[in-house]
């Protein structure tokens, strides 16, 4: 299985070269890959259908418990068939369809990445590697939706899809990690058996809700559904493949996969039921008022995804079976319908159903395929869609609570979907007239073949459903290990389900008639922007940007003084917080031992500092700075630091010289009036100075026994041959510091030279 996935990625990497070689045939060549994968999966069918599983395991990041574990069971195989089978058809189709586009190599790269990741997703038995593939599908979907990236609409739709699914992905990640922590393993099949342990850890419910959010975004559940209709900006093969048959079902897949763990706990069932129900009804009712073929299909897809979620939410034996069967049925007819919509668009130049009509005679094969697929969608016997619809009704009827409500929800959605099917088939192919400028012709065989094949399968599976029963049975067992055996058949005798199915078809037909006969009324229906979640999304994004701009303007205001102010304020607040535990040292000790010139020097320095602050003349300020500097040197002399004093005096002199050299040509100080702001700065300066005084006092009240001091005193002459201990430290004990100091000085010299002399005249000057 890893090989299959890796080949997929490898093909994506090699595509630029393959494309140069195969050119227009690239799509057909690539179709070999999913076709071969399909065959490989088919060889495993009997083993899986008999209840076996196939496993593979490879280390990836064992330190994190991440491994490439693959497990093929009924559910995975069902999806693998869909991905590889429909994948092959879509690639063949795209080979012809994409000829109208430029730079299709980039399209195929993304598509191959998607295909490989999607396979990886459904085969993974490790939560983290599953997540990796999950995100890769979002990633490739982003590039596919944005394929026509020069259009604003495409870019917006791509971003929408990415942000919603990746945002949900973050929730999913957190949920999966929590599961992993709670269950102490990252292996899915292990986790599913450790429900009690995870529940004990207390993470079960949080993880569940987070995973649900992730799945809902991916599977376009309300209120996240809006990215899916927008994603119709992608080329049609993408819509057929990613946004109806496979990727959007990834959320459903994961919900189904996690069902054994969550089904029956907490809010799992209610959440799925309610959200799925809203999504289903909202999707179905929006679908019938659309005029764009792809939008109709998109909303029916939303509706179908809602239905699947509901079924998983019901969570009874039959409901699970219904879900599994419906996944297959829906993928077949919806994939086909999308491809067919693409053909219609391709041949007629429009997807607007108001312009389409009377196409059957001109496009008989396309028409036939559309009709079969639509009938399956409407659930009309003997198609596979009918079998699935029967099961769906069966599952709601035997619900313990809320049965009538759920059943009627299904019924209403069924009616609307039937009506939509009518619009798709009857209106387009037998409608009274078309408003097309040119006369369409039938599409080339390479386009029609795929969808036609899918339609044929829908019929075949309907009639001989027992071929597929064992696999679907295994799939349902994967979702619900103790499930009853699944037996599919067209005829169960006359029962409630059958009556409801028939009623659905009949009322659906009436609804269709109503819509068909009142196009103006339908066109006048507008959904208010206020309740559209897509506009909530737009507003959220623009609000976030607006907020971030405002916050950034405040924080990053460009005012250096405020930056320094914040720095000092942070320091002062933190220090005050810590210092609250200390008492203020008593002032009385101050007057114990001092000499009179100490005070004089101290006062001179303080005064110089004060006048430097107040000085209105630059030279005066510099002179006062010098006074402070010499004062510091004097203190060094008094406390036994002659080297420091000498250095300080020399440095001070040079600094003043530099100051004078640099500044004397500058104009006078500007006098800025800002007294009311100054108060804030004045206060913080006082607080800051006070804090530093306090800190010195606190630290110096403890005794200090420095063994370094003793060591230097002892060894400076005996070992390091020097009697000036400070100098010995500088050139021997800590010579590395001095080396660093030298480099600093050297760089400063270069820097000053560069600052002053830098010019672009090319005049060379030697330093």
């Amino acid at each position: 299985m890893l090989t299959t996935i890796l080949i997929g990625f490898l093909l994506a990497v090699l595509l630029p070269w393959l494309y140069k070689f195969f050119k227009a045939n690239t799509g057909r060549f690539l179709a070999v890959f999913p076709a071969a994968a399909f065959v490989w999966f088919a060889t495993k069918h009997n083993q899986i259908a008999a209840g076996g599983i196939v496993k593979e395991a490879y280390n990836w990041m064992p330190g994190l418990g991440v491994s490439l574990d693959f497990k093929l069971d009924g559910l995975s195989l069902l999806f693998a068939f869909l991905i590889s089978g429909i994948g092959a058809i879509v690639l063949l189709y795209a080979g012809t369809y994409m000829k109208a586009y430029e730079k299709t190599d980039r399209f195929f790269v993304a598509l191959m990445i998607f295909m490989a990741s999607m396979l990886g997703l459904v085969l993974s038995d490790n939560i983290i590697s599953l997540f990796v593939f999950w995100e890769l599908t979002s990633f490739s979907s982003y590039f596919l939706i944005g394929f026509s990236h020069e259009k604003e609409e495409s870019r917006g739709a791509a971003l929408k899809a990415l942000l919603i699914t990746a945002g949900g992905g973050l929730a999913l990640l957190a949920g999966l990690i929590l599961l992993g922590i709670g269950g102490e393993t990252n292996t899915i099949s292990e986790l599913l058996m450790r429900g009690d342990q995870i529940a004990d850890s207390g993470f079960l419910h949080v993880a569940m809700m987070l995973i649900i959010v992730g799945c809902f975004t991916k599977s376009a559940q309300f209120p996240f559904h809006f990215w899916l209709p927008a994603a119709m900006a992608a080329p049609t093969p993408v819509s057929a493949y990613l946004h109806s048959a496979t990727m959007v079902k990834a959320g459903i897949y994961l919900l189904a996969r996690m069902s054994p763990l969550f089904n029956g706990t907490g809010n799992w069932n209610t959440t799925l039921l309610v959200v799925g129900g809203i999504t289903m009804l909202m999707g179905a009712s929006t679908a019938v008022i659309q005029s764009d073929l792809k939008k109709i299909l998109a909303y029916t897809t939303v509706s179908a995804l809602g239905l699947l979620t509901m079924l998983l939410g019901i969570g009874t034996e039959i409901a699970i079976q219904a879900a599994v069967v419906f996944i297959l049925a829906h993928a077949l007819y919806k994939g086909a319908l999308f491809l067919l919509a693409g053909i219609i668009d391709h041949q007629t130049g429009t997807r607007n159903i108001r312009k389409l009509g009377k196409l059957f005679k001109k496009m008989p094969y396309t028409g036939t395929a559309v009709i079969i697929a639509s009938l399956s969608m409407a659930g009309i016997p003997p198609l596979f869609g009918f079998i699935s619809k029967e099961l769906i009704y069966a599952s709601t009827i035997d619900m313990v609570i809320n049965s009538p409500l759920t059943t009627s929800a299904f019924f209403i959605a069924g009616v609307l979907i039937t009506a939509a099917a009518g619009i798709l088939s009857y209106k387009v192919f037998f409608g009274k007239r078309n408003k097309l400028e040119s006369q369409p012709t039938e599409a080339p065989f390479s386009l029609v073949a795929g969808p036609l094949l899918m339609a044929v399968i829908a019929v075949t599976l309907g009639i001989s459903s027992r071929f597929i029963s064992p696999l679907l049975n295994q799939a349902s067992l994967a979702v619900m290990p103790e499930n009853i055996e699944l037996q599919l058949s067209l005829w169960h005798g006359i029962n409630t389900e059958l009556i409801m199915s028939m009623a659905t078809i009949f009322i659906g037909y009436l609804t269709f008639l109503f819509i068909y006969l009142n196009p103006k009324f339908i066109a006048s229906i507008k959904v208010s922007d206020k309740i559209k979640t897509s506009s909530v999304y737009d507003r959220t994004i623009s609000t976030v940007v607006e907020i971030s701009k405002r916050v950034t303007i405040i924080i990053q205001n460009g005012n250096l003084r405020i930056y320094v102010f914040v720095l000092i304020a942070v320091f002062s607040l933190l220090s005050l917080w810590v210092l609250k535990d200390f008492s203020v040292p008593s002032i009385s000790i101050l007057w114990s031992d001092f000499r009179i010139y100490d005070i004089v020097i101290g006062l001179i320095m303080i005064a110089a500092c004060f006048y430097a602050v107040m000085a209105k003349s630059r030279l005066l300020a510099i002179a006062l700075l010098g006074v402070v500097g010499y004062g510091v040197a004097f203190i060094f002399i008094m406390f036994g630091a002659p080297d420091l004093a000498i250095t300080q005096i020399l440095i001070e002199t040079i600094t003043v010289v530099i100051f004078v050299l640099v500044l004397w040509k500058l104009p006078k100080f500007l006098i800025f009036t800002e007294s009311f702001i100054k108060f804030r700065y004045f206060m913080i300066s006082i607080v800051f100075g006070g804090l530093m005084t306090w800190i010195v006092m606190i630290v110096t009240q403890y005794p200090l026994e420095s063994h370094l001091k003793a060591y230097f005193a002892e060894n400076s002459y005996l070992l390091a041959k020097g009697k000036n201990v400070v100098n010995v430290i500088l050139v021997d004990f800590r010579s590395l510091d001095t080396l660093g100091e030298m480099v600093v000085l050297g760089i400063a010299a270069i820097g000053i030279y560069a600052l002053v002399k830098f010019n672009k005249t090319g005049k060379k000057e030697e330093l």
């Binding site: 990796v132 942000l163 916050v551 250096l560 933190l574 063994h707």
Partner: protein, 502 residues
């Protein structure tokens, strides 16, 4: 074995000195820098290898036993950082050949770069707090000069802010060293770790920690001390910004990790909370800034801040896994962020502007460059299976394990916004067409990519590393785990430095 440390330091130092002798001779200086950084990679590789064998290597400089001289110490964290510095060094070296103009080279660009690499390596390897200060100052002065070199208006303005805030921060560093010495009478980190245990009042440690929090917080650009970074990082040439972006802030993070795992590792609710809230706020406000900007480099600058938050988050949580995450994050981020800056420079050259509103169509014109950008940008946004994903995964897992759900939520939201701002760059610069009104400007200011091909080489190299870490991250993960293990057991370090009598 000890001399591996010495060689790592001597290579950039001698390169610097030699390029001083080669003042004004462009090609010779370029050659020295290239060979120097290449040798540095080799030396750093050897150093890392010996550290893997011997755990901690100590070079007592000037031959004085610790704590009387200055100990240079290479543990895993140090040697990983040195290796990363060397990698970014060589990337920037190659890039600078095409990007940095004649005049800057005339005024000492290469000697300064060499000394900058030297100072960064020194800061990673020193085991002495005051010596660390010296390295920091060396790093500061060389970055000051590199930032202002060229005397552009915005450069000068940016440098004034950069200089002021960093000098103020340095005074805190120096004062902090004073407090540590005043409490213990020693400067050696290992010795400090031992002696601080017997400080009479642990609030004194909190007090000292505040000084270092401010000093390193400014260098690492954490909230609310980061303002200098977005004010300045977008002004110098890209080769400079890229090195700054990748490494300079990480020196601050390195110092954070070193100090708060070894020196201030006493049980302190104050420090724990301080780090936790800093991490959250840094992540959040950094990414807000990125969401607001429309300049390629400014977006990237703000992202540095937000990603620093993730590293501090790892440190704040402090478990083994969390530290592993922080280390992994550093490794990932140095590579990716430097690379994004390099790419920004190429996009600028080939499209004429850093302003996203004025450019477009890079994807159409240069798909290969686009792929390189995608790898780095999506890695930064934490998309699997790229390096950033693992980094994020580890940090988030660590946060969930230790119950810091607040931090985890912030981290996830920030991850989302990171994706948003990365796709903004993609949308504007790569996907959209050049807007009509800027068509002319874009055409006149841009050069064809084929004329600046050498600039792609380092980008390919760094993107390759990102991809490698993503796909085969196990070795990096193991390394990060061993590093975290070492950080959580400072006894090994202390023992190696002080010898048996500790």
């Amino acid at each position: 074995m000890e001399n591996h440390i010495l060689i790592v330091l001597l290579i950039p130092l001698l390169s610097g000195i030699f390029s001083l002798f080669a003042w004004g001779r462009k090609q010779l200086q370029q050659y020295i820098f290239l060979v120097g950084t290449f040798l540095l990679i080799v030396a750093a590789g050897f150093l890392l290898n010996s550290v893997l064998i011997h755990e901690v290597i100590v070079l007592q400089s000037a031959g004085w036993e610790a704590p009387f001289g200055i100990s240079l110490v290479a543990d895993l964290l140090s040697s990983i950082m040195v290796l990363l510095a060397a990698i970014i060094g060589i990337a920037v070296a190659i890039y600078s050949f095409s990007e940095v103009d004649e005049h800057r080279i005339q005024f000492g660009f290469y000697p300064l770069m060499n000394f900058l690499v030297f100072s960064v390596c020194g800061a990673f390897l020193t085991g002495d707090v005051f010596n660390l200060y010296v390295w920091f100052e060396m790093m500061l002065i060389s970055s000051f000069v590199l930032m202002v070199l060229g005397n552009g208006k915005s450069q000068v303005e940016a440098t004034i802010k950069y200089v002021t805030i960093n000098i103020v921060a340095s005074t805190f560093f120096l004062a902090g060293i004073g407090i540590l010495y005043g409490l213990t009478g020693t400067l050696n980190m290992a010795d400090l770790a031992v002696r601080l245990q017997s400080v009479p009042n642990s609030s004194l440690l909190d007090l000292a920690a505040i000084f270092f929090f401010i000093a390193f917080g400014v260098k690492a650009a954490v909230f609310p001390l980061f303002n200098w970074l977005p004010a300045s990082y977008h002004t110098p040439p890209i080769a400079v910004s890229s090195f700054f972006a990748g490494l300079l802030t990480k020196v601050g993070v390195y110092a954070f990790i070193r100090f708060f795992t070894m020196i201030f590792n006493h049980e302190s609710a104050f420090i724990d909370n301080l780090l936790l809230y800093t991490a959250a706020a840094t992540m959040f406000f950094g990414v807000l800034g990125a969401a607001a900007q429309m300049d390629f480099r400014k977006i990237l600058s703000f992202h540095i801040i937000s990603q620093i938050g993730y590293m501090i988050m790892g440190l704040a949580i402090g478990t083994k896994l969390a530290l592993t995450g922080a280390i992994f994050y550093i490794i990932h981020h140095i590579i990716v962020k430097s690379n994004l800056f390099l790419i920004a420079g190429i996009v600028k050259k080939s499209s004429g502007s850093f302003n996203l509103k004025k450019i477009g169509g890079v994807y159409g014109k240069y798909p290969f460059l686009a792929i390189l950008f995608i790898i780095s940008a999506f890695s930064l946004a934490g998309f699997p299976p790229l390096s950033g994903f693992w980094a994020k995964l580890i940090v988030i897992k660590a946060g969930l394990e230790s119950g810091d759900s607040f931090l985890v939520i912030v981290a996830l939201v920030v991850g989302f916004l990171t994706l948003y701002s990365m796709t903004k760059i993609w949308n504007e610069a790569f996907w959209k067409k050049v807007p009509e009104e800027y068509m002319e400007e874009s055409q006149t200011k841009s050069v064809p990519l084929s004329s600046i091909k050498p600039m792609i080489i380092p980008v390919v190299m760094l993107a390759g590393i990102t991809l490698f870490i993503g796909l085969f991250g196990e070795s990096v993960l193991n390394l990060a785990m061993m590093t975290a293990e070492q950080l959580l057991n400072p006894e090994i370090y202390i023992h190696a430095v002080l010898g048996n009598d500790s």
